[in-house]
């Protein structure tokens, strides 16, 4: 796989919404009741807000081997480093036995490459409330990170980001999709 990096340009646009001239309107209401005045309404001009928050960053592609750009071992199906998604049971942040060797391999790699950083993304399925699912996703990511730290990975090497149900891996709305969405993803940074 060719370097599968995509530069994702983030565009935060803000539509600038201008207020209406309420004075004219109020004057002609027979009993002085006011048309609710507020800043946003139909009279609008749109423009880009080039203020805070515009940022571009690199992200690894999410093909079969999302971290393939890190080296051949990350796309060798016989190497546990080729696996970067850890799946979880319903309502659980407990790591299942199947994934212990995968996590151990990544931890060992990070110990051997102390300059290397990863983002541990936590995700959940769509059921239940969204902010609560953010918290559940974080718990999943944390349970993996704490295993890695036992192996010697340092705090500075791992950043935890929980997306909750906001970035589903599978778009369906059934048990099959939910299973794929209850997960954590190890995303290598840079290189």
């Amino acid at each position: 796989m060719k370097l599968n990096k995509a530069v994702l340009a983030l565009a935060i646009s803000a539509v600038i919404l201008s207020g209406c001239s309420e004075d004219e309107k109020d004057a002609s209401l027979t009993d002085g009741t006011q048309n609710a005045a507020s800043g946003i309404n139909d009279a609008s001009t749109s423009g880009l807000n080039n203020g805070s928050g515009l940022a571009g960053s690199e992200m690894s592609g999410s093909g079969m081997y999302p971290n393939a750009h890190m080296g051949p071992e990350f796309s060798d199906p016989n190497n546990p480093l080729s696996k970067s998604t850890i799946y979880f049971m319903l309502d659980s942040s407990q790591v299942q036995d199947d994934f212990v060797p995968v996590i151990a391999a990544h931890a060992q790699y990070l110990v051997n490459h102390p300059g290397q950083r990863v983002v541990m993304e936590g995700h959940g399925d769509e059921r239940g409330s969204r902010e609560y699912n953010i918290a559940l996703g974080e718990q999943r990511a944390k349970s993996i990170v704490s295993m890695m730290k036992v192996q010697g990975v340092s705090d500075g090497q791992v950043q935890i980001v929980s997306y909750g149900e906001e970035k589903p891996a599978a778009e369906g709305h059934d048990e099959a999709a939910w299973e794929l969405n209850r997960r954590a993803e190890i995303v290598y940074q840079g290189k």
């Binding site: 919404l17 946003i40 969204r130 902010e131």
Partner: protein, 427 residues
Amino acid sequence: MRFFKNILLVGLISFYLPSSYAEMTIEITEGIESALPISVVPFAMQGASGVPVDVSFVVDADLGRSGYFKTLDKQSMPARPSTTEAVQFKDWQAIGQNYLVIGQVTEEHGQYNVQFQLFDVYKGQQIMGYRMASSAGDLRRTAHHISDLIFEKLTGKKGVFSGRIAYITSSRQGRQSNHKLQISDADGFNAQTVASSVEPLMSPAWSPDGRKIAYVSFEKKSAAIYIQTLATGERVRVAEFPGINGAPSWSPDGSKLALTLSKDGSPDIYVLNLVTRALTKISKSFAIDTEPTWSPDGSSIVFTSDRGGKPQLYIVSSQGGEERRLTFSGNYNARASFSPDGRSIAMVHGNGNNYRIAVMDLATKAFNVLTDGPSDESPSFAPNGSMILYASRKGSSGYLSAVSLDGKMQQKLVFDSNEIREPAWSP
């Protein structure tokens, strides 16, 4: 009006026909039998150029969709009067109409004068009459304002037709996602994007004065909370700590923001003073604490916590202190929303794979499940407390829906986006 107090059904909001931008349709899935007959006669038009908005049509649609009124279609009207003199009350009595609305729209040099009158058909009396000026661009708002005036006059409840809703949409093209924070009129028209990002946007929350929105953005590949001023599009980042920065909720006086941070370990509730920037930790459990919502009197904060093993709602003083469990019905109660009078809270009530909207009376603890599920979330009260707006899904189609507090009236709103969620009704 005693008669109206006897109507059990509280309900009000109007969402209807698609505009070119927000393709939305409305379906009243459950209505009420006691809706009042009202005729909104097409307003007479005077002036050189045409009128860009059919004002009486908007009023008719608002009132009809509120569930409180049964409007009469044009074809069934015995006449189309636009002045008091032209009204023959007997004709309208004969077809069982209780109320009659007539009006005129006059155009002069691109400015409009809108005039309307509301009559009690049986008494043969005018109940209300107004004349208001409007620019072309404001005609739709003027129409909603007329609906509010009529609604309040006849039901004693404040109308919410002039309100707006904020919500999140997302779409995907291949691997690229696009997330938008949008604001539309209460009827779905005039949808405008106020923020968009390829990374998720979440949890829009209106400031109490309706001028700002706080929301969560992952645009920097981690969560941060922003406050955006709607009129200018300017925004400030108010929270960007390691870990979760989520679930913003404004204090009723607008000076503070309750939020969820996990910077010290487990997610906890904090209060951020927007003036001094002081940050106060409110909840202190080792479990998940999130989704704070402020009581309307500012004294307390209700939040979701799984400290008991499953998510339930808890209440704590907004200064911090003893945390007390509120919900005991079922094993999943989350994402509380206070009614404007502070007497009840709406929530997501989960049971197995079924997530529905429930409402609980804080004094009596009476617990009512209002919706059918299975994927209902993000309840938000209308500012007059009559209805709860929420997000739902059937199959692959996400939509917004509104339900009356007794669950008897339901409206389904369908936007052009199949991924629409987290509706928040403006103050």
